[in-house]
Symmetry: C2
Subunit: 345 residues, 2 copies
């Protein structure tokens, strides 16, 4: 059983998960993902994954058989203990440490894989805009379902693409981890938004959109509902953020019109990154408010895309002060110029 | 000129340093450090580095010539703009943004390399205990010197060993970066210590030593003045911390007796990690209070050693929630058992 432990100094939760050591890691030693071999995520191989928890399916197809376009399944090597039922015994869930200095609780939660297409394709941005919309639909549906369990307080949706970004399977996929605690970064972002709201009397994200639109130099793409930009204090070269223009703290509350538009925006940005950086390894993460919070006027959901083209060394780990050799204004310009007139595919 | 930029949400400083893109990076593409070739850090090649700022020298030897055992020189590819004089023009240093939303200031500071031995040796832990004491002496002397500039507020001393940990030169060396701002992690640790002191009326570090000594299972090594342990909420497998038993917030105030003992402790721990993990890549970082702070009763300097045997992927980057597959109790036991009776050379 994994264990959640809280660092007493930084109030930072960590998952201690000995089971994770057993998952296949040969790829990291070889330095690249295996191009051939058996693909457990491919259509027709549904029996090789745990039963699906959600799928976008063709009419008439049956669960856990062929005929799907996006499929969500539990991770075989979960970071947190997966339970088939969303309702594990309360005593398991609530098992906490009696030592007030070193707090811990059972590492129960949900760790799922979102398989983004039925065929063995490694690059998400080669899928169609419709595929992107269906992937976003899958994210939303899983959030809405997991939100029903009052003991889960937050879900992180993320993608590791390329071995340098931590991927262990070539077939394009993203993941979600639902936790009974709020991860440190989520807490820090919400506190930062609260502090700004208290001091300035308005939303930091509102002001951020105003500043970026006025300056223009860090904008990659702007649509009716979304602003895509390279953040002013980017930690990584070509770090890119997708931010909705309208206030909304919870990603699962995204509207049908926003989902439709986000599909095209997301594909467009990933295509630009692929062109400029020649198919880079990257991570993306959806930052969203905890289930336990109401709509927060000082926080807004957003997607952070982090190309992994530079390493992270001792200085960054120790100080939290990142050194970025590519000014975000230069990155944004190259991303803007990469596709003329916003034409995609 | 590099630029320091503050993220408005997280209050996180970032260095935007376009000059860094020009430094030699071929090693990262090859995936290992070049074993042969010219060594600019070797004795006799002093003319190939900028002039030294400090050295531990044999009697009668002259600066910037042979006859040294530890040598400190400015980094040729600095993350912050190095100035020969510790006193750059005030107007350069104080150049700040007028935009209150996006704060910035000139990326002036000091970035130096501590060359840990005169011969081409890649592994620090193969040096003698006396070498370790002289390296620690060099760290202290540089801190005391840099502290004299009232515009420098903090120094991070760190090491990247092995290419997976970000090293770009094989010859064993560490680095220091002196900044005119306090890095985010340093601020967070000091605030965490303050919060605990306010709530509990005592030092968190004092209680930590008490807890670890009482439990014993996470202790690697204990001496008169130091406790070496794998932290309760370790983010990385075999993460190890060297903590002084006596309260002291500033590393530069370490006593002669502590330095003497720390040399042996440091070598011993790195030897244990090398044996158990077969010469792993690793980072270490000295966490110390800012120059601008007086002795802080709620913070204590410490050294964090982070083996880099697992990758960091999207979930960790996005959430700050790390997944560690090796329980620190297991790591500590293997490190304890690796050298019998604490015997080292």
């Amino acid at each position: 059983m994994p264990e959640l432990r809280l660092d007493p100094l930084l109030q930072r939760w960590v998952v201690i998960a000995p089971e994770r050591a057993k998952r296949p890691m040969e790829l990291h030693q070889e330095g690249r993902l295996n191009e051939v071999g058996f693909d457990p995520f491919a259509e027709g191989n549904e029996a090789h994954t745990p039963p699906e928890t959600f799928a976008v399916r063709n009419p008439g197809s049956a669960p856990n058989g062929p005929g799907w376009r996006v499929r969500v399944v539990p991770n075989r090597y979960p970071a947190l203990q997966f339970e088939d039922s969303l309702k594990p015994p309360d005593d398991l869930f609530d098992q906490r440490s009696e030592n007030p200095f070193y707090q811990q609780q059972s590492g129960w939660g949900v760790h799922e894989v979102i398989i983004e297409c039925p065929h063995n394709e490694a690059s998400l941005c080669r899928l169609s805009r419709e595929n992107f919309c269906e992937i976003i639909e899958a994210y939303q549906q899983r959030l809405l379902m997991l939100k029903q369990d009052p003991r889960l307080v937050h879900v992180t949706i993320f993608k590791n693409s390329g071995w340098q970004a931590g991927a262990s399977v070539r077939h394009t996929h993203s993941q979600l981890i639902a936790t009974p605690v709020i991860p440190m970064t989520v807490n820090q972002e919400i506190e930062g938004g609260e502090r700004y709201f208290r001091q300035q009397g308005q939303s930091l994200f509102h002001e951020l959109v105003r500043q970026e639109t006025a300056t223009g130099s860090r904008i990659v793409l702007e649509t009716h509902d979304f602003l895509v930009f390279c953040p002013y204090a980017s930690r990584f070269p070509f770090e890119t953020c997708i931010l909705p223009k309208q206030q909304k703290s919870h990603f699962e509350m995204v509207s049908p019109a926003e989902k439709e538009e986000l599909g095209g925006v997301f594909k467009n940005v990933l295509q630009r990154l692929e062109r400029v950086l020649s198919n880079p390894a990257y991570n993306y993460v959806i930052h969203t408010a905890p289930f336990t919070a109401p709509e927060l006027p000082h926080f807004r959901w957003h997607i952070e895309i982090l190309p992994r083209i530079t390493g992270v060394a001792g200085f960054e780990w120790g100080s939290g002060l990142f050194i970025n050799p590519v000014p975000p204004e230069e990155a944004a310009q190259r991303l803007r110029d990469s596709i003329s007139h916003g034409a995609t595919q």
